[in-house]
Amino acid sequence: MGIHHVGASDGDLVRRVKAGDARAYADLVARYRPRLARYATRMLGNREDAEEALQDAFVRGYRSLARCDDPEGFGPWLFGILVNRCRTRGAQSARRERLLVHDDAALASVPSAEPPGDDEWHEAVGRALARLEPHYREAFVLKYVEDLSYEEMARLTGAGVSALKMRVKRACERLRGMLEEVQRV
């Protein structure tokens, strides 16, 4: 992909892209892809949808770079774009069978009574997260996975702080309800 300016700040890269160096955007992609991929995967439940949402967000970010008022704040700004993309895609994937994540080999097996192994725990968490209502899931992931403050979450989602606190609380209650059994076994 050419020369990587490893030490460059987000602002430097954004300014370079705005000046016409589109390939500088590759460094921003490499920098933010892991974290954005994690968020999108947690929100959408499967890699295919997450990668599409990710691509949409990065391309949208590139096209509307003029609206990024603070180049140093590119990361949070791009993250906001991804949050919106995931909301829209989340609304669609609710129509599909979310359980398509399982492959045929897994279908054939029956869960045993053994204590949950790591894989089973991961699957259970994934399923539980998928069964949360989208705005509860979003609030939980923003708070406990992305580690945002409630003020940051409010700016990102447009919801009020108290509404967000309630969503996080409800999400925790529901996750507890769905997972306590799995952990106890």
Partner: protein, 178 residues
């Protein structure tokens, strides 16, 4: 739960730690992203057309017109009847005037009629509320809910024919390539 409470119940803490683990992505993902980026038009100098979309005065009808123009300019002119693999999203701005309201949300079949999902924010002018929602091509039914309990149709949008539940809905039509 207080905002800085790291004393989470064990279970929730374990869930959070699990979800914080990195996820695997396709090795060629970055390259695919850059291929699309390099094929895209360069970032617009002033983003003027986008600013127009965000001005509170634009009704869904105006946004439809704009989306229609964009669809003609940016997308393949030949319309296919089978669904496109990657439907284009259009930003639709919902605007409602309610000077005495303390909250307004838009509720419809794009957000599962969830009163909490899409609140409007106060826009520049007094009493004007707005929110921008990305929507795929299709026909959507919606209404506004003021202060959590008063349902109102959009005075600037076509009415949905008939109302099944006693309060009228409005319709927004979002166009795309397919």
């Amino acid at each position: 739960m207080s905002e800085h409470d790291r004393d989470l119940p064990d279970l929730i803490d374990r869930v959070a730690r699990t979800l914080r683990e990195p996820v695997a992505t396709d090795g060629a993902l970055d390259a695919r992203i850059m291929a699309r980026v390099l094929a895209a038009p360069a970032p617009a100098a002033g983003g003027a057309w986008w600013r127009w979309l965000r001005r509170p005065a634009l009704s869904p009808l105006g946004a439809i017109g704009l989306a229609a123009i964009l669809a003609g300019v940016l997308l393949a002119p030949r319309v296919r009847r089978t669904p496109a693999a990657r439907p284009t999203l259009s930003e639709v701005q919902f605007v409602f005037v309610a000077p005495r309201a303390s909250s307004v949300s838009v509720v419809g079949d794009f957000n599962d009629w969830n009163l909490a999902a899409t609140p409007l924010a106060r826009a520049g002018a007094a009493g004007v509320w707005s929110v921008s929602v990305p929507l795929e091509p299709g026909r959507y039914t919606y209404a506004f809910v003021v202060d959590g309990r008063r349902w109102a149709a959009d005075p600037d949008a076509p009415r949905a024919a008939g109302d099944d539940f006693g309060t009228p809905n409005s319709v927004v039509l979002v166009r795309g390539a397919s």
